[in-house]
Amino acid sequence: MEVALEDNNLMENVLPPDEQEIDVDLEAKEKKYLRGEVANLESLKDKKLKTQLASREKLYGKSAKAAAKIEKWLLPASAGYLETDGLEKTWRIKQTDIAEEVDRSSTRNQYDIVLPDFGPYKLDFTASGRHMLAGGRKGHLALVDMMNMNLIKEIQVRETVRDVAFLHNDQFFAAAQKKYSYIYARDGTELHCLKERGPVARLRFLKNHFLLASVNKIGQLHYQDVTYGDMVASIRTGKGRTDVMEVNPYNGVVALGHSGGTVTMWKPTSQAPLVQMQCHPGPVSSVAFHPNGHLMATSGKERKVKIWDLRKFEEVQTIHGFHAKTLSFSQKGLLAAGTGSFVQVLGDSSGDYSRYMSHRMEKGYQVEKVMFRPYEDVLGIGHSMGWSSILIPGSGEPNFDSWVANPFETSKQRREKEVHLLLDKLPPETIMLDPSKIGAMRPSRRKEKPTRGEIEAEKEVAIEAAKGVELKKKTKGRNKPSKRTKKKKEMVENAKKTFPEQEHSNIAGKKRRIGEDAAAELPSSLKRFARKN
């Protein structure tokens, strides 16, 4: 391509053939960074605004291109994968086989912690995946630093613990205990007792809004702002007791699964659910959300797992065969389902979700909760004998952004981040099904006045309909032909008038009839006092 070209535009169009294919790839990435369609500026009449917006759109295009190039060339790490050749199937590969092939630091992430005395364990990870909180049913709470496998703190609360959740970072966590929920600091000090909620079945934290959401044994949904302790909303769902609750990370909406098979979605500012979907014929066992916010997986007791598209609220796929007690999506879109002592991971590399990997534990280990660890290829499993961790290649996002979640955070960075998170705290009113509506144009509600031709056409249609209607044949001597024709004529006349005139004549007719009757009853000397409407 050593052609001397003076025009810069021409230079950009001429590409060597091997680079042209990569351009297509870059365009696909660019679409992701454009975050939607280019705005239509043709309908704008204000010239100044039009030029300003046009130059802004150009800038968006440029920045999307630059971000696509950075993603292609400059990101430090690449995603994990598991590929088999020939007849070997990926779901037959055991964790021991994987351990032989990967490096030492990855095999450190495969382990089983056996604690048979403290009951089934629930897990939670912080947003960066560095810390893990394990809560056993019989009252054992343990806070672990996953990078060094360090046990930071463990406490025994001597009460039933039904659920655990981290707050915005590893400094605070909440545990749903027998009668009330409690908030603890990192060193195990009990900070708050949340009495208002009652006995809580599930606890989840909405990170952007600093809201601690919980559903209790009566089926009430509570939202509390943990920065100043105000109970933002307490909603009576009216659907009875449930312990299936998940938060959609894309829009902050809370989904509850009920025993009638419905999944309802809630926001703190309304007492009625946003959406009610009938998902299963029987009770819903668990719900999970894909991080992009468009897919939801639900499982029911009829041994089916259904994948739903949340934009159209339609079912996309059904997976038969097992009753998944717990579901979890990874950052890259893999779905983990736990049933009995068996964990199955489904992947969507071929469009639909199909078997990717599986892991069978010893018979006595009943899986209680599965959860993918963020930014790592690791799946955490909480079961009746403790907790385990297995490797699932290709499940985690390999490149983290230091300003979003940094697994290698220092304490100074953590403090700064906390301050920035608090400054960016969103009010609960911003929770909506489509979060991109904020700042978007509202479609104009003014209906266009129908043109004269349209009005005429409507009238003709109404006249035809009036002519075509069949009057019911009355019995008992009321079926006089003269009356029938009179009524039909009246209907056609009505159709010919415009709507306001029809209303007016109906009302006037009624009033006249009433007045005439009253006037007929009065004696003649009082007739002049009869109301004349």
Binding site: K32, A67, L82, T84, G252, F400, V404
Partner: protein
């Protein structure tokens, strides 16, 4: 079987020594940032509120004159100095940084009406109602100026007399000529005691004069009979004349677009004209309630500052119809002259209460040295606020200004009057035959005609 899992080594992602910088990694993927629009909106709201918290535009007042200030002049070569003259003939050179008088130029007997400095910064020209034009040599600023106790005074280098009182003076941008406005428009040379050239136009006096920054021989004047005239001094009469309904108090040329000028009018509006095409104004800037007395452009050419008889100073964008900022104080009375400092950071207003006041051009700007991270944060806040400035909550905060009661009431009254007039005009138009009643656009409404 090929397997790869994510494995990060701690060395790659943390720093080796405490003197190293922390490592920062970026991933711009939108899926890592849910609800980013809501977060941006929240940041825009916080930025708007912070801007209001930090908005302290008043820097200081320069006290010293003993009578109301009539005019000011900027020295093109020296950023820190400003000349001001008052109604009792007192001319002073101020040091803006210390807000003190550096030098006085006594001599005028009556009010000083015009002040201007030559482009090389050496000669100060002043004219007044005592029919004198005085030329002074501007003292060179030196390090010894830090001795504040001595207020020097100098003698004029030349005094020229003419027959009538003089009302304004302006110096050519490139060259040795300056123009005075009085009973007629006179062009003078530094060394001649009589005007080199004179332009007469009718019986009314010329109120203000301004040379074009781009073309050295073109100047704009405004006269008492509501005309704005553009002269080329190489020709013998006016090149263009615009007749308006009310008189223009001051004219300023846009330094970045020298063919455009803005005229500050007695009816409270400023009219921006294209010097080549005068049938209609390019833009009408409406916000003042009373006569606009003076106008000065920012060196960026993007905004201008106006001072008005209604005791306020407003900053307008060059192409926008309404002011972006208003400055007022209880102590500031009728504002007679304003200047935009040559580094586009300050605005100086001279008013009837004998004080010059120094204001920041951007009210919430942080002055002094700003670290690069701070600067980036300010720029980010500006950008995110501009993105959401049309939304009601943010618009309400950004637009909010406290107006003094007389201005507030006058604006409400004029709004009611304009609404009533507009309604009546619309009804008249609706009830007349189409085409008989023609609405005049605001840009042509106040112009009566253009005279060649």
């Amino acid at each position: 079987m090929r397997i790869k899992t994510i494995s990060r080594s701690v060395d790659e992602f943390t720093r080796e020594r405490s003197q190293d910088l922390q490592r920062v990694f970026h991933n711009f993927d939108p899926s890592l940032r849910p609800m980013e629009k809501a977060v941006e909106y929240q940041r825009a709201l916080t930025a708007a509120k912070l801007e209001k918290i930090f908005a302290r535009p008043f820097v200081g007042a320069m006290d010293g004159h003993r009578d109301g200030i009539s005019c000011m002049a900027k020295n093109p070569n020296y950023l820190k100095g400003i000349f001001s003259a008052s109604m009792d003939g007192d001319i002073r050179l101020w040091d803006i940084a210390t807000r003190r008088t550096v030098c006085q130029f006594p001599g005028h007997q009556g009010a000083v009406r015009g002040l201007t400095v030559s482009t090389d910064g050496n000669v100060l020209v002043s004219c007044g109602t005592d029919c004198n034009v005085r030329l002074w040599s501007v003292p060179r600023p030196s390090l010894e100026d830090s001795d504040l106790s001595s207020e020097k005074s100098t003698e004029p280098s030349a005094v020229y007399t003419c027959k009538n009182a003089l009302l304004a003076v302006d110096h050519q941008f490139e060259g040795d000529l300056f123009a005075t406005a009085g009973a007629q428009l006179d062009i003078w040379n530094h060394n001649r005691s009589q005007p080199v050239q004179s332009f007469t136009s009718g019986s009314h006096s010329v109120i203000s004069v301004r040379f074009n920054p781009g073309e050295p021989d073109i100047l704009a004047t405004s006269s008492g009979d509501n005309h704005i005239s553009i002269y080329d001094i190489r020709m013998s009469s006016a090149a263009r004349k615009i007749l308006m309904r009310t008189k223009t108090n001051s004219i300023a040329w846009n330094p970045m677009e020298p063919m455009n000028f803005t005229a500050a009018n007695e009816d409270g509006n400023c009219y921006s004209f294209d010097g080549r095409k005068n049938e209609e104004a390019k833009c009408v800037h409406k916000d003042h309630v009373s006569a606009v007395m003076d106008i000065d452009f920012s060196p960026t050419g993007r905004e201008f500052v106006t001072g008005s008889y209604d005791r306020s100073v407003r900053i307008f964008p060059y192409n926008g119809g309404h002011s972006r900022e208003i400055y007022h104080t209880k102590r500031m009375q009728r504002v007679f002259c304003v200047k935009y400092s040559s580094d586009a950071t300050y605005v100086i207003s001279g008013s009837d209460d004998t004080n010059l006041r120094l204001w920041k051009a951007k009210a919430s700007e942080q002055l002094g040295v700003i670290l690069p991270r701070e600067q980036k944060k300010h720029e980010y806040n500006e950008a995110v606020k501009n993105r959401y400035k049309h939304l009601p909550e943010i618009k309400r905060i950004v637009r909010h200004r406290h107006l003094p009661k007389p201005i507030y009431k006058a604006k409400a009254e004029s709004r009611a009057m304009n609404d009533a007039k507009r309604r009546k005009d619309e009804r008249r138009k609706a009830h007349s035959a189409p085409g008989t009643v023609v609405t005049e656009s605001h840009r042509t409404r106040r112009i009566i005609k253009e005279v060649e």
